[in-house]
């Protein structure tokens, strides 16, 4: 029997949670557009881990 998987949170849901944690509100800006930018930024920032791995690999080599 396969365990039911958790629903994948949307970028909008994650942004809303992040805003709440930070005590911030989106204000009059377009929330979907901001969520898309949030998702893009998250992906670009997460590239830092692979870059760091590659950089440390160069050093250890």
């Amino acid at each position: 029997m396969t365990a039911p998987s958790d629903p994948v949170p949307t970028a909008e849901a994650e942004l809303a949670a992040a805003l709440e944690r930070a005590g911030l509100v989106p204000g009059p800006s377009s929330f979907p557009a901001m969520a898309a930018a949030f998702d893009t930024r998250r992906q670009r920032a997460s590239a830092v881990h692979a870059a760091l791995d590659a950089s440390e690999g160069e050093t250890s080599a």
Binding site: G27, S29, M34, R41, A51, S55
Partner: protein, 467 residues
Amino acid sequence: MSPDLSDPASLSIAEAGAALRSGALSSVALTEAALAQIEAWEDAVHAFITPTPELALARAAQADAERAAGIDLGPLHGIPYGLKDIYDTAGLRTTCASALMADHIPQADSHVAEALARAGGVLMGKLNTYEFAMGDRFDEVPFPPANNPWKLDRVTPGSSSGSGVAIATQMMRLATGSDTGGSIRLPASCCGTVGLKPTFGRVSRSGVHPFSESCDHAGLLTGDITDMAIGMQLISGHDPADPFSADVPVPDFRAGLGQGLAGLRIGIDRAFVEGPGLGDVMWAEFDRVTRLLRAEGAEVVDVTLPPAAHFSACGAATIGVEGLATHAARLRRHTGPETRNIRRYFLPALGVTALDYLEAQRLRARLRAGVDAALQQVDAILCVTTDGSAVPYLPMPDMSTFGRTGAFNLTGHPALTLPTGLDPEGLPLSVQLVGRAFEEPLLLRIGHGLEAACGWRGTGPVYPPRA
């Protein structure tokens, strides 16, 4: 060639200073010439947020009286300059181009504003910027954005837009800027001026409204390299009020000017220059500049910089989240339309985790070491500032063409943009020179030699500007 005293606005700081000291020119006449340039251009280009013509004429008259009394305050005495409107000025509003600050009157000068005033300069006013020096221009702002004087539909990018415009149109010969990802070098490139992002810590940021604590640099835009050296001499030095200000000796920034390029080694990493896609016109200009360097006796060699993608990832995990930290308290207090642009620009940085940020700082140290290693082999690195000349302004500008500058905000190395020629549309092209930390005089020596080889001086936008 002798300077043209019949056209005082065209004089460099060095030329105007010599004319003032000889009595061939008065500071009032020089200031009136600058005001005439403002009168002609300002309606089209919006270089200013707060022009101060009456104050300027009064300060110029004071400078003439001081000189007549035998008082000489140095090379900027009686010469027009401007301040980006994120530099605090006591008693004079500092708006950061934001509705939130439209009536903000600081109590004290920023460190740099105080230094330039003490040097006897004639403040022409507060210069236009993108709101809070953010990297994107928004249309819903309380002050009309600056337009490119070479062609009004083109960007004046970065955020020191008014400074680039004011120098290019000869409203003044020196203007302050700030640079977090390229905001001095990009407007310099697109407006055809010189722009220097100094070494991190060289110039105090005290009293300059912040964007990103670890990437903000205070610096200058000028009409030529000699003026840049003069200006850097005035604003450099340790300031305990800026916790990141470096306690290092201030060199003679003019020491290398005129020594030429013979014997110097210039490094090139063609993959870094290529970036996301360099245009044919810019490649041709870059190769032309490389040939000029060789012709002047420099040795041009290949070097290897860290991959451009690593700088991009590091920047994505650093600059925006520091900007959000700068503005978070403000955003909690103000939730209405007056903070719409700040929210649009910075709230997406909530996608950066603490782990992203901290690993980015580890990566950053390695990137800095990688650039240091390349600079151990050469005296400077030559690259580009942008993919080409100023692009048309679009409501949502594509800033992907502006990727070569932010790398050196992350590493802190000094980076100099200087104009080299015009593209087929008659718009300025530039190169960027990157030097070893705290070796700006060597960078200025190379820039001075290249400036002479390119023959740029005297090139500027024509009035009336093209639409």
